[in-house]
Subunit: 232 residues, 3 copies
């Protein structure tokens, strides 16, 4: 199967580790053995954490954009709603699902836009669009791919604004710098070979010092302290 998916991830944190804004969105094409992205689109978003709900709409758009460039069999959205096709989701169904009132309101809010983009993909490319969320490996790869890009975007922000950026990584992962970019490896059990990658074409990693540590108030999460080299 050729699977397209998208996710937004990685947060700028306050000094007290409170998430302030979400940094990046990426859509990915994943093919067997389903370990990393074969193709992707990534964007810096730096959207306020309070407005993060709407990220799902932009994720669907990035899936559609990637789908216009490469063939796929199915699209996985980061919504954990029983792997139902997005076209089958309806307000009535949400009442039977075990989701909070707040999540329900948000779903009802984004559903019309999501269904529109979903229908577009289904009609134009014949793919099914599933609300599969946390059960999907491609969603995880999208999370790690957007996370790897988020590191580069945050490094750029730190150098441009000449101040330290504290970056909260996605759950259970760890970056590894390479000559030509940065990998973000999953640390989830049984995901040791799952990873995202971002190419450092602007050689931004050379302009910063990065310190990795554990987020002390959120187990399983790591954070990066990014200092521009000039500012030291």
């Amino acid at each position: 199967m050729r699977i397209i998916s998208a996710d937004s991830s990685t947060a700028v944190l306050s000094e007290k580790f409170v998430p302030i804004s979400i940094v990046a969105t990426a859509s990915v094409l994943v093919v067997p053995p389903y370990r990393e992205a074969t193709a992707f689109l990534a964007e810096p978003i730096f959207v306020d954490i309070e407005k993060g709900h709407d990220a799902i709409v932009h994720e669907a758009e990035l899936c559609r954009d990637l789908l216009s460039k490469t063939k796929a069999d199915v699209v996985h959205l980061d919504m954990s709603l029983g792997s139902l096709p997005i076209e089958q989701l309806s307000p009535i169904q949400f009442t039977n699902m075990n989701i909070s009132a707040k999540a329900k309101r948000h779903l009802l809010n984004v559903l019309p836009r999501l269904r529109k983009i979903g229908n577009e993909m289904t009609q134009k490319y014949g793919v099914e669009v599933l609300a599969i969320g946390k059960e999907s490996i491609p969603v995880r790869i999208a999370e790690l791919t957007s996370g790897a890009h988020a590191i580069l975007y945050a490094c750029k922000k730190a150098t441009e604004e000449k101040h330290t950026v504290l970056l909260g990584l996605p759950s259970r992962c760890q970056p590894r710098s390479m000559e030509r970019g940065i990998y973000l490896y999953s640390l989830m059990p049984a995901e040791h070979d799952v990873r995202g990658f971002a190419e450092d074409s602007e050689e931004i990693l050379k302009k910063v010092n990065i310190t990795e540590f554990l987020n002390p108030i959120a187990r399983g999460f790591r954070a990066l302290k990014i200092n521009p080299k000039e500012a030291e």
Copy 2:
């Protein structure tokens, strides 16, 4: 303690990763340090996934068969019912347990047969038979041992029927081929030294090509694509 346990595991999958049939059952004897089986009985079952409920009865029988060949102190069945002795399980108790109506019906259906086999083991060999399920390391070792054998059984099926078999492995584990057989290692946290093994006495592994990948729609699960060499 010498513990005997049994489990059924590993599924033949459709192209879309839907489980079709369960491949193998194994009973195991596990002794300190409780990392792998000291003795075992394994069988191919290839039972329809819909009829998988009754596997627990056959598992109890395989425990009894192994118990007739080797001494043990206790038997662990793969039923997560508070580690209660099987003889103490009763319909009244199920009403106080947090289990679904469907699971309750199934339990009531198999309980008479299970208690009969359990009583036999207790009276003949003086062992206690516990419904311990997911808290038991011997149950996990039985799962990995049946999984390792399931790989060999699926390879045999692929060569005999001359077609590809897609095999869904147990949760969070990974196979490693050796000269004389195949290991199935746990990838669960804190189970890095827990494994199952199956001896490839018929050298069936030489007759197939095996590709490992992640199950894209079930995080934590891996799958094997087994191709007979002649058919390529």
Copy 3:
């Protein structure tokens, strides 16, 4: 941030792996990158498992003792109550929290003493005291640090009393002996670099043989069989 935390851990087990007594308490100072203790206080407690509830009060006292020796910004107690400051905890709040009647009774019992110690720390040292529990990495480091010390205390007990001690380690961790002491490494996902340490100043480790195995009836837990060398 400089964080002080405390935890009690590790249990003497019966032959059938039933916990009998809790072995040790430790308070720790944890600073970036939040991987191990920079300073600590550890004590053998060997308290009856039934009376383990009150350990939280002693943990708060050990935090206070450590705070009198070193500066910190915040104190993390091993109570998972939404990271609320201890001074804000009240009986009314517990009714809104998803905690059992038994846990509620126990909380009401220890709360006055906890608040007294908490207030003392806040007024004297200006630190906030949070009921953060399982989300805190410093709590985990306190658990591993008390666990490392518990191993030494249990070894001492085994040599002094000339009999075998069966020791149940904290969840998902594994000891590693070094020249000058013993490390206890976390085996939780994404905690591979988190550990506790205890210095073996009395060279007690040379006087025992330690066998590590898995607790067969509690997945994720390991146990140590400690035999005094003379007694063999």
